[in-house]
């Protein structure tokens, strides 16, 4: 993001801690949609200070698709690539399962199947923001390796679509910040009795 003249949106996740209730709708939807092996958790919900009054909060975490992603920096085989819209993806055909990225990642996003002989790890798997991988878009191989490519179909990533309280927001940075800004600004202002602009368009 070196200048303001980018053609692409910058995609980001945002989890509103005031709203997240640890229902795990996001993580289960993710696992179902991408038909993940049970030991892979692309998305996790964590509760901090569980049971401690006044201190407990929950939030949903997955790959945050960082700017200057540390995983990409440390990968010895350069399997990561960052799309113009900021989504961080990787090439499973290149990945050697060394798990350097896991050590570099501040969010514990990279996942490794652990069923190889002598505990060897398979290739890494992580949240793709429902954007697939380097294979041909919506091809069988992309689906097998990376799961659904909902972004290519113009759909919201399944985790946020399923979020029961709309705590988990995803989209281009500006839209996410607009949604959150509206929540902050409308704080204490009562409920809307009709969708904005309805009466202008259709009468009361």
């Amino acid at each position: 993001m070196s200048n303001n003249n980018v053609d692409y949106a910058r995609m980001k996740f945002y989890c509103d801690e005031q709203r997240c209730i640890h229902c795990d709708g996001c993580s289960v939807a993710c696992a179902e949609a991408h038909e993940l092996p049970v030991e892979i958790s692309r998305r996790k919900v964590v509760t901090v200070n569980e049971g401690k009054q006044g201190m407990e909060f929950s939030l949903s975490v997955a790959c945050m698709h960082c700017t200057d992603a540390p995983c990409e920096e440390v990968c010895p085989v350069d399997c990561f690539y960052i799309r113009d819209d900021g989504i961080v993806l990787h090439d499973k055909d290149k990945c050697i399962g060394c798990s350097y990225c896991l050590y570099a990642c501040p969010f514990g996003a990279p996942q490794f199947p652990s069923d190889g002989a002598f505990g060897t790890k398979g290739v890494m798997d992580k949240c793709t923001m429902c954007a697939g991988g380097p294979e041909e878009t919506n091809s069988h191989k992309e689906r097998e390796l990376y799961g659904q490519n909902r972004i290519a179909e113009g759909k919201v990533p399944v985790c946020a679509a399923m979020c029961s309280t709309k705590a988990l927001l995803v989209g281009d940075a500006e839209s996410v910040s607009n949604v959150y800004r509206e929540r902050v600004l409308s704080s204490g202002h009562g409920v809307q009795s009709a969708p904005y602009g309805w009466d202008k368009a259709y009468g009361k």
Binding site: R19, I21, D24, G188, V191, A194, W198, Y202
Partner: protein, 749 residues
């Protein structure tokens, strides 16, 4: 609820909670059990600055979002609410006008409230006195406030008093019949409200019509069957008018006669057969009794999409049948949501493999039992058809017959239209836009006529009856102890011909009360009263007059037909406070309570329970599961979240018993049963109680039953059933089990 103001149902809606200025939650955990509905609570907090108050024995996920949290001792909700009322009355924060016009018997409540000074409430409930004052002050001064509850309030031996106490608190503050107020009971499962409305109950006919001969005759006529034939189905005619067994005590019907079992009154015979449709009976209290009863049946049938674990826990070898039922996606028809609104469902796929939809299983059964024609006759009446069409004709049959809760407007055509246009309704008010103008989403009942809007907020006199307004129902007579039970002057819904209280409408009083004249033709067609008026003339005339067919009366704080006329505190049957049991003993034992003699005081005083079982046992749900958990544990991703049965235990308590985090532990019940579960250190419970989730089965008292599942049907997760150790104890009115206020002892394995 029904005994307070006429209907036992959520008075407002989930969306309406966004209008609240304060939210108080007793014994409910919507963040876990209603995660999607909980967004409305969070929005009220965001947009309205509404404070969330949670009163619960356990620091739940809901409590984590609360502004005030009171960790109450199980079974002491009544003292807590009397404590609140005492502060409210002393400070004059109650709504005097509302009480005067619309409530009967509040004086008795005021008297009893005086017995609950704050120090005493703090001692009994275990909640800090200052916190109770803070909560009360905030809740009383921020109206409208909504009061939420669920099983945490109802599942007690005095649960029916609890559910009267909460309405009394709301009535005292004038929080009833307003947007953002109300008593909002959260139904725990899909279509619970519909199942109750349609009478999955043993003490009424559908629509809460009683069991009197008159009701039976009305139904015989409406169903198109001969009354004498119906009567002939019973062993002797008087059994038509008697309540049946309840889900919580059916096992007594099998086991009665064995040593130590309660006696039954079932015409000299025990129950021999059990037919279960979609009910996880391993999630009902006293699992060992359920097992023993299943073992002793002649025949047991389970219809479920997944293997019902009732079939797993029993040792019965023959005559246990598992019928594959379709899921909700494999059938269509209407269901009723927690806020009394209907929603039409469309079939997504045909029933897969050899499974059948529930109704087809019932039809086939009726054919073989020889009453298929009678069972389906009612569906053909409306249009005098040769063949019925499922489910439309069934829906229309319901609309034709059920007047009590106002289902007249729920025709299949209208309900489908709502489903097809659900984007045309506002999420908060439910109000329709565009072509749905003038209707509320799902036509929340009462929906008096085929053009009525539905009633989103019960007992709201600030709307006209045509737009869902109404007073309280005139259900308990016209006067009691010389006091008028009709609503006070000027407290009728707006645009009413009659501005004051008025009685329920019948053939004889309609002209006088509505101030109208009927034509001779109308006089010849009108039914005896509004509940049986299939001509619907009464409802139509009432709409024109702006009046509710069921009258406009006072709510009652005092129920003179109950053991306790006003709610009184009674300690749970198994209480950790032996000293308080003497002051607040339970009820006298009750004979023939839904056919079963039920123990109260004799169980409570049988021994000093607290001495041997000093720890409170709290049960509840997990967000990834529901009910007995059969379908959820069969999903690998859901099972992964909680792969094992566990017990939340405070580290201090665990330390006293030498139980380490993650170690197996025993939980023993006063009934002599036990379960072996994994300990999970948690600060969400205080050191005097433990919490266990209700969704597991497949392990019984330490023994795995995995080998008993038919090949390929074992779920990914099995575990001890919490109900193996929930205590004996049943509500004095409804027989709901006391699973939220029991005792236990724990031990290292």
């Amino acid at each position: 609820m029904a005994n307070t103001w006429g209907y036992g149902a959520m008075t407002n809606s989930l969306g309406d909670i966004q209008n609240s200025k304060a939210i108080i939650i007793f014994g409910a955990n919507p963040a876990v059990n209603h995660p999607v509905g909980f967004q409305h609570f969070l929005k009220a907090k965001e947009r309205n600055n509404a404070k969330i108050i949670v009163v619960d024995p356990r620091f739940t996920k809901t409590a984590a979002k609360a502004d005030y949290y009171a960790q109450i001792r199980p079974g002491t909700d009544i003292p807590f609410m009397y404590g609140m009322l005492n502060i409210i009355f002393e400070n004059g924060w109650h709504d005097k006008g509302f009480i005067n016009d619309r409530v009967y018997g509040m004086e008795d409540v005021m008297k009893e409230a005086k017995n609950w000074p704050i120090e005493r409430v703090a001692d009994v409930t275990g909640v800090d006195a200052d916190l109770i004052v803070q909560i009360t002050k905030h809740y009383a001064q921020h109206t409208p406030g909504t009061l939420i509850w669920a099983m945490g309030l109802t599942q007690h031996s005095n649960g029916s008093s609890n559910t009267r106490m909460a309405p009394i608190l709301q009535l005292a503050l004038g929080n009833m019949g307003v947007e953002g107020g109300g008593c909002n009971i959260l139904r725990g499962h899909d279509n619970v409200q519909g199942a109750t409305d349609m009478c999955c109950l043993s003490h009424t006919l559908p629509g809460y019509y009683g069991l009197s001969d008159g009701s039976w005759k009305y139904f015989a006529k409406s169903w198109g069957v001969d009354y004498e034939w119906l009567k002939g189905r019973f062993k002797t005619p008087e059994w038509m008018n008697k309540k049946g067994f309840t889900l919580s005590r059916w096992w007594s019907g099998v086991l009665a006669g064995n040593p130590g079992e309660d006696a039954i009154h079932n015409n000299g015979t025990n129950l021999k057969a059990l037919f279960v449709m979609g009910n996880g009976i391993t999630s009902t209290a006293q699992t060992k009794k359920v097992k023993e009863a299943l073992d002793n049946l002649d025949i047991a049938v389970f219809c479920d999409p997944f293997v019902n674990e009732g079939a797993i826990i029993t040792d019965k070898q023959d005559d246990v049948y598992i019928l594959p039922a379709g899921t909700q996606f494999e059938t269509s028809g209407s269901v009723t949501a927690t806020n009394r609104s209907a929603q039409w469902r469309t079939e997504v796929v045909k029933p897969m493999y050899e499974s059948k939809a529930d109704q087809d299983i019932m039809f086939e059964l009726a054919k073989r039992l020889g009453f298929y024609d009678e069972l389906t006759a009612g569906m053909k009446i409306r249009e005098d058809k040769k063949e019925y069409k499922w489910p439309e004709d069934a829906t229309d049959e319901i609309a034709r017959i059920i007047k009590t809760i106002g289902l007249t407007g729920w025709t299949a055509k209208r309900l489908k239209e709502h489903q097809e246009n659900w984007h045309m309704f506002d999420e908060v008010s439910g109000r329709g836009y565009g072509k749905m103008t003038g209707e509320y989403y799902g036509l929340p009942w009462p929906c008096w006529t085929e053009s009525h809007s539905g009633s989103p907020v019960l007992y709201n006199i600030n709307r006209s009856v045509k737009d869902g307004g109404m007073g309280f129902r005139n259900r308990f007579g016209l006067e009691h102890d010389g006091q008028d039970l009709l609503a006070g002057a000027g407290s009728a819904p707006i645009d009413s011909n009659n501005k004051d209280g008025y009685p329920e409408i019948n053939r004889d009083n309609i002209e006088e009360v509505l101030k109208i004249k009927l034509t001779d033709d109308e006089k010849s067609r009108i039914g005896k009263n509004w509940k049986v008026d299939t001509s619907n003339i009464i409802a139509e005339k009432c709409m024109e007059a702006g009046m509710a067919p069921y009258g406009n009366a006072k709510a009652r704080a005092k129920v003179w037909t109950f053991a306790d006329q006003i709610p009184l505190h009674r300690e749970p049957l198994h209480s950790p406070r032996t000293d308080l049991v003497k002051e607040h003993p339970s009820f006298a034992d009750k004979k023939n309570h839904y056919r079963v003699d039920t123990r109260y005081i004799s169980e409570q005083t049988k021994q000093d329970w607290a001495k041997d079982f000093p720890i409170n046992l709290v049960t509840g749900r997990l967000v990834n599961m529901n009910g007995a958990g059969m379908e959820n544990r069969a999903s690998k991703y859901l099972a992964k979240l909680t792969p094992e049965m566990f017990c939340d235990i405070h580290p201090d308590l665990a330390g006293r018993y030498g139980i380490r985090d993650g170690e197996m532990m025993w939980i023993h019940s006063p009934q002599g049963t036990k379960i072996k579960v994994k300990s999970h250190y948690s600060y969400s419970v205080s050191p005097d109680r433990v919490f266990i989730p209700i969704h597991f089965a497949g392990v019984l008292e330490g023994e795995s039953l995995l080998h008993k599942y038919p090949d390929g049907t074992a779920p990914y997760a099995i575990g001890e059933s919490a109900n193996t150790v929930t205590n004996y104890g049943y509500d004095i009115v409804t027989q709901i089990p006391e699973t939220k206020g029991g005792l236990c002892q724990i031990a290292r394995v």
